[in-house]
């Protein structure tokens, strides 16, 4: 039981962290609350389903192809629908909802509403201490951890990462320092959608695919980002782990836990928010009171 909680908690936590960090990045760099974020995750899962199962391409071709296509869609959507009207924050918010609905409906029309599954990339399992962990789980966990480390390196060690963090701190000053903030925002969008699509392709064999699969993760991602503090990468990671473990524990230990898992996770988020209104690692910026 305890080991199940550990394995599933770590797994869900890593996936949520990928999604939450992407969401947090684009909020920081462009001040966009991108509610279509998990729709990109859904899109990537379906892309790998289409290339991998329908067209029967090799996973090593299908996975990068899916990620690239989804990232291109993300950048296109950013340039056409978000960048021109960025000052109207509420309009951008609703536009992202509309984009998510468009993706959902397109997927529904193309693939139908019934549940889909993607076959595992690797088969077999190991059983240390009597727990069965399939290789697919280990592979997903490994890739997701690698992606997280890579993003951390990009953000902390490269010029682009510096620029992203600078424009997240103060967009106007970053602009005055000669950075092209619109381009940085587009690059951040690509990075953020890229993270979501890596998560999408990696969990596709583990989850059941359906066109509404973006809605539940979206609620959790919002809760995680708020819990960790908006714009904070560390906060998003820790928040994701906290909420994922709470969710998994509730499912395993409580009767009727499947109904209550989101409710309890959100209740704990609210309690933390009442104590710390800016989230665990968030900061209130003086200019944006």
């Amino acid at each position: 039981m305890l080991s199940d909680i550990l394995v599933y908690g770590l797994m869900n936590g890593a996936v949520y962290a990928m999604l939450a960090i992407g969401f947090s990045l684009i909020f920081g760099a462009a001040r966009i609350i991108n509610l279509a974020h998990t729709a990109f995750f859904m899109l990537a899962s379906y892309a790998v389903f289409y290339f991998g199962s329908t067209l029967a391409l090799h996973p090593l071709v299908a996975i990068p192809l899916s990620i690239i296509i989804v990232v291109l869609i993300g950048v296109f959507v950013y340039y056409v629908f978000m960048e021109p009207i960025r000052e109207h924050e509420t309009a951008v918010l609703i536009i992202t909802v509309a984009i998510a609905l468009v993706f959902q409906e397109l997927v529904l029309i193309m693939f139908g509403g019934h549940y889909r599954g993607v076959s595992n990339i690797v088969t077999g399992y190991i059983s240390p201490m009597g727990i069965r962990i399939s290789y697919q789980y280990l592979l997903t966990l490994g890739v997701v951890s690698l992606a997280l480390v890579a993003v951390w390196l990009v953000l902390m060690k490269t010029r682009l990462g510096n620029a992203i963090r600078a424009s997240a701190q103060d967009r106007e000053v970053a602009n005055l320092m000669g950075m092209n903030v619109a381009k940085i925002a587009a690059a951040t969008m690509a990075l953020s959608v890229g993270l979501a699509s890596v998560a999408g392709v990696m969990v596709a064999p583990l989850y059941t695919l359906e066109p509404h699969m973006w809605l539940n993760p979206l609620v959790l991602v919002l809760a995680i980002v708020i819990l960790g503090g908006l714009g904070s990468i560390k906060g998003s990671f820790i928040g994701a782990m906290i909420l994922a473990f709470i969710e998994v524990t509730v499912v395993f230990l409580m009767p009727g836990g499947a109904f209550l898992k989101v409710a309890i996770a959100l209740a704990i988020m609210l309690i933390i928010l009442v104590i710390r209104p800016e989230g665990l690692f968030g900061i209130y910026m003086e200019g944006e009171r």
């Binding site: 609350i33 109207h88 609703i94 609905l101 397109l106 109904f259 409710a263 928010l273 209104p277 989230g279």
Partner: protein, 342 residues
């Protein structure tokens, strides 16, 4: 006779001078004489539901558009009132005349309950925290299916009125009355404070105004109106289900209001009366229905990000540069101070 003359003069001097006011009056007249034009129950039913949702969307506008307390969980008020009315009606047999106001009051209490912990939160934090409340309530509803009816909801509620036509006039009348009240609230001294809180809360507090009191007032007012809408909806459809608490229900209020034009009240009404019937008539397009709807919202907001009513108002009217009175776009000089409009 004198009264008619005054009314006529008012119509000529205050209504006919501005195209937007003419449109508003025509819209109200259309709603009132609609049952004379058509006997189609389907159209009347759509307009009844649109009226109820107008109250709901306008209440979101009051809280989020005017006071700036963006709420992503507005379905909480709608759903709490819906379940309260349904349970009171079914278990105690109270008539809709009593249950709907009681539902509104229940929503006010919930508004206080939500408002107090949320007072410390700002901007996106507040919006995303409010998102949590209806989802948590939905979890509770699923855990006690015996009392709340679980996934199927509570059915077998008495009708709003015995005849469809009465239901129509009740919904339309209440919509016009409540939206007028909300519009007056935003126009009053309280409304000015609401505006000020949205623009700069610290400055308002520095001016010696108790912002906490006003923010709680906004939560309660908005909750009350949303609650009335929830009660009406429950008695009209004769069912209260968990879908009334869903995330989509919360987002619908935001979509309608922002589509119509935020912080205007009439924008919320226009948004509902355009988008809700549009979604109904798109049933003809079968599986492409939601896709066309989403594309419509996407394109309109891309081209008119300030909302459809604000966009057309700015096209049809111009503000006089000297006295700030609005004029029809055709006038060369201001209708009040006769200064040049260019």
């Amino acid at each position: 006779m004198a009264l008619i003359r005054i009314a006529f003069r008012y119509l000529r001097n205050e209504v006919l001078v501005l195209p937007t006011r003419v449109i508003a009056v025509l819209f109200v007249l259309m709603l009132i004489i609609m049952p004379l034009i058509t006997n189609d129950m389907y159209i009347l039913r759509i307009l009844t539901i649109a009226s109820i949702f107008s109250i709901y969307a306008a209440s979101w506008d009051l809280l989020s558009g005017f006071v700036g307390q963006v709420s992503f969980g507005h379905a909480l008020f709608f759903g709490v009132a819906a379940y309260t009315t349904a349970l009171l009606n079914l278990r105690l047999g109270l008539s809709p005349l009593i249950t709907i106001p009681l539902g509104g009051i229940a929503a006010v209490l919930v508004g206080l309950l939500v408002g107090i912990p949320c007072l410390r939160l700002k901007g996106p934090y507040l919006g995303l925290a409010t998102l949590a409340f209806p989802i948590m309530l939905m979890g509770i509803i699923f855990v006690f299916p015996g009392f709340f009816g679980g996934e199927l909801g509570i059915s077998g509620i008495t009708r709003l009125a015995s005849i469809r036509l009465h239901e129509y006039y009740l919904a339309v009348g209440l919509m016009l009355l409540l939206c007028f009240i909300m519009w007056k609230i935003t126009d009053s001294k309280i409304g000015i404070i609401f505006h000020a809180i949205r623009e700069d809360e610290i400055a308002v507090r520095a001016s010696g105004i108790n912002t906490i009191k006003y923010k709680l007032l906004a939560f309660c007012l908005s909750g009350f109106f949303a609650g009335i809408a929830g009660g009406l909806y429950t008695h009209f459809l004769r069912i209260a289900g968990p879908s009334m608490l869903a995330v989509l229900m919360s987002f619908q209020a935001i979509i309608w209001t922002i589509f119509g034009g935020v912080a205007t009240i009439y924008g919320a009404v226009a948004g509902v009366f355009i988008l809700f019937p549009a979604l109904e008539f798109l049933r003809a397009a079968a599986e492409y229905r939601m896709l066309i709807f989403a594309l419509l919202v996407l394109l309109v907001l891309r081209l008119m990000p300030q909302g459809i009513t604000t966009f057309f108002r700015d096209k049809l009217e111009r503000e006089c540069p000297r006295c700030k009175v609005r004029n029809a776009f055709t006038r060369k000089e201001c209708r009040v101070c006769y200064s040049d409009m260019r």
